[in-house]
């Protein structure tokens, strides 16, 4: 008889999913070297500015990436080359975004003074000094037009979503297809349509006409987002409501909709954000007016048209005003987005 002594070996913990420190170091060296190389390239050739520097970086990174791993074989080389190309391409994608936001903020802030948001252009010409006039008229007009549009488009969009998710009617697929088709309607066509109907029938440009055109563009966004939101409600909740003897109408209005209320807010806000900056349809429906006005039957000023028409004048001060309007509009869209995001976060916590 022999006894075997079993030695127990505790393997040291390994974390194969973690990047070894060496790789991180190599990456850092690679990026730093590329930046240095780009700097030289910028100095040596005619490339100039941040963009020129980036071009140099975009050339240097893949090249240095190949050089750094070529000794490790073909697959590793291709992998690192592909990675560096993806990184460079992603950077190219981000450049316009950064540029748009930074230019709007930089140029837009020039037009600001204490009364910019509270004065209109009734007694000020677009070319007058930048410490006179403002965009109160456009702000009021935009809010009015978008509010009217929301009062029509939000209920309609939610109804379409209820039809698809709750009623599950015979045309559910068809309705979804239609909303998708509608989201592709060019904005100028929506404007032209309202011009061909409402403007011609009622004899003139008005806030009503502008709002109608925006409804066409807003409806698909609201419908699609609400549909996604309603799908989040669990069927248990519906079944429980039916078991208590509730009708489908009662279930929808007292159980399903309150459950996802904040999600529906998200849908509405996204719809508003979608149309707040629409220019083309408003050119054909609301026209422009320099006075702060709440008369819905007359031409009314809106933010996009304020920007567009100021830009069209083409003098230094008018272009500065256009940038100022862009800044306000961009900030409004950003705030709307934050609201939508907060509302949808609240929904997902439930």
């Amino acid at each position: 008889m022999s006894t075997a002594v079993i030695e127990s070996v505790t393997p040291a913990p390994r974390r194969p999913w973690r990047q070894p420190r060496k790789v991180a170091l190599e990456t850092t060296i690679l990026v730093v070297a590329s930046v240095v190389f780009a700097r030289f390239l910028e100095a040596a050739t005619g490339l100039a500015g941040v963009l020129g520097l980036y071009v140099g970086f975009a050339v240097a990174l893949p090249v240095l990436a190949i050089v750094s791993v070529v000794r490790k074989g073909r697959n590793a080389t291709i992998d690192r080359f592909a990675t560096s190309v993806l990184v460079v391409a992603f950077g190219v994608v981000c450049i316009p975004w950064i540029s748009v936001i930074s230019t709007v903020v930089r140029n837009g802030s020039r037009a600001f003074y204490s009364g910019y948001l509270t004065t209109d252009m009734l007694i000020t010409g677009v070319d007058d000094p930048l410490n006179t006039g403002g965009l109160a008229h456009a702000l009021v007009g935009s809010v009015l037009v978008v509010l009217i549009a929301s009062f029509i488009a939000v209920p309609l969009g939610i109804v379409a979503a209820i039809y698809i998710v709750e009623v599950k009617g015979r045309f559910a697929g068809f309705v979804r297809f239609l909303t998708q088709a509608m989201s592709g309607v060019p904005s100028i066509v929506a404007g032209l349509f309202v011009y061909a109907t409402i403007v011609i029938f009622f004899g003139g440009f008005s806030a009503w006409a502008g709002a109608s055109a925006l409804v066409v563009l807003m409806l698909p966004t609201v419908a699609r987002t609400s549909e996604e939101v309603l799908k989040l409600v669990s069927d248990d909740l519906r079944a429980a409501s039916y078991a208590l003897g509730a009708t489908q109408a009662r279930t929808t209005f007292s159980v399903v909709l309150p459950t996802v209320f904040s999600g529906l807010i998200t849908a509405a806000v996204l719809g508003v954000a979608r149309v707040a900056g629409e220019t083309a349809p408003l050119l054909l429906t609301t026209s422009y007016f320099v006075k702060t006005s709440t008369n819905l039957n007359e031409p009314i000023a809106t933010m996009p048209i304020y920007i567009f028409s100021s830009l069209g004048i083409g003098t230094e001060n008018s272009i500065a005003r256009a940038w100022g309007g862009s800044l306000v509009l961009l900030a409004a869209v950003l705030i709307l987005f934050l609201i939508a995001r907060i509302a949808s976060n609240r929904l997902s916590r439930k």
Partner: protein, 323 residues
């Protein structure tokens, strides 16, 4: 011993819907078909207002490039044709898609497979946000920031590839060209194409990716053999959605394009066409007869974008992604 409790009334369970429900379902159906009504009204009214143009010019409206409102008092002197505008629209939208797709693909792969989780969440929100930047802001940026730079790029492109007919120019003026409009549109459609691509790439079967790693593949190897082939049809659908957007975009293109009523394939030349911009630019001073022409042009644009979007939806649906 027994205690008395409230026993609810006995309730009949039946499969027959109550009257309130019938009413509710009926009302929702009617409301949901609003989109059908609106789409039908758009097509109907544009056809109604523009019908005379189609009757007067027939197919010539699509094949001729003359846009002349003629004598105001004598509509018979007017000549309308949108061939140049239609070709221009397609040309610019094609440039936009060709430029945008490779970048959208790279960005989507980067966001989905390279970026850390926290960064990924942020980037997804940023994509949605950028997609909501109004076109007039892209327009003012394109006009004052992009165009001066892009003119230089166009010059470089011309000096290297000028022998190729596409990059030839009749006169050395490079501003307000289809090339610049296409670049601007590419940037505008990038968010939507990227977010569709990201969504499809994110749905690539995880176990296939893991299998590729297990076989000793590199990250790029896994992407090339599993993820990219899996997302191909979704990417095509996203590109077509972008194409639809690009075809219908108005203000941004209007600001960076010189409208010329001649069919022109020289993309660097300062002359291009665009149906939407035509409507925006001629609308203000159009005579009643010219307005009909614009309505007809709008109808053509509407039908083209509807077709492109329907095709895109079908393709994306096949890729099983909710757009």
């Amino acid at each position: 011993m027994s205690t008395e409790t409230d026993v609810p009334e006995i309730r009949l369970i039946s499969g027959v819907r109550k009257r309130t429900d019938m009413l509710f379902r009926g009302a929702m159906t009617v409301g949901a078909l609003a989109s059908l009504v609106i789409l039908a009204l758009i097509a109907g009214f544009l056809l109604f207002r523009g019908f005379q143009i189609f009757a007067d010019f027939g197919l010539g409206f699509l094949t001729s490039s003359t846009w002349d409102s003629g004598d105001v008092n004598d509509p018979t002197t007017a000549r309308f044709g949108i061939a140049a505008m239609l070709v221009g629209s397609v040309l610019i939208a094609t440039i936009a898609v060709v430029v945008a797709v490779p970048f959208a693909m790279s960005a989507a792969l980067f966001i989905e497979y390279y970026a850390p989780r926290a960064v990924r969440t942020v980037l997804t929100s940023v994509l949605d946000l950028i997609a909501a930047v109004p076109s007039v802001i892209w327009g003012i940026w394109g006009y004052s920031v992009l165009m001066p730079d892009a003119e230089g790029w166009a010059k470089t492109l011309h000096s290297w590839l000028g022998w190729f007919p596409l990059f030839d120019v009749p006169a050395p003026i490079f501003g307000r060209s289809p090339f610049i409009a296409g670049l601007l549109l590419a940037m505008m459609i990038l968010p939507i194409v990227t977010s569709v691509a990201r969504e499809v790439y994110g749905q690539a079967p995880r176990d296939h990716v893991d299998a590729a790693y297990a076989l000793g593949g590199t990250r790029w190897g896994a992407l090339r053999t599993v993820v990219i082939p899996f997302g191909r049809s979704g990417l095509v659908g996203g590109a077509m959605l972008g194409l639809g957007r690009a075809l219908g975009e108005t203000v941004a293109v209007f600001l960076v394009l010189n409208l010329v009523f001649d069919v022109n394939f020289k993309i660097l030349a300062s002359a291009g066409g665009n149906v939407a911009s035509l409507i925006a630019s001629r609308f203000g001073e159009a005579s009643p007869y010219e307005l009909k022409g614009l309505m007809a042009a709008g109808l053509v644009l509407f039908l083209v974008t509807l077709l492109v979007n329907a095709a895109a939806t079908a393709v994306v649906k096949r890729a099983k992604v909710a757009v």
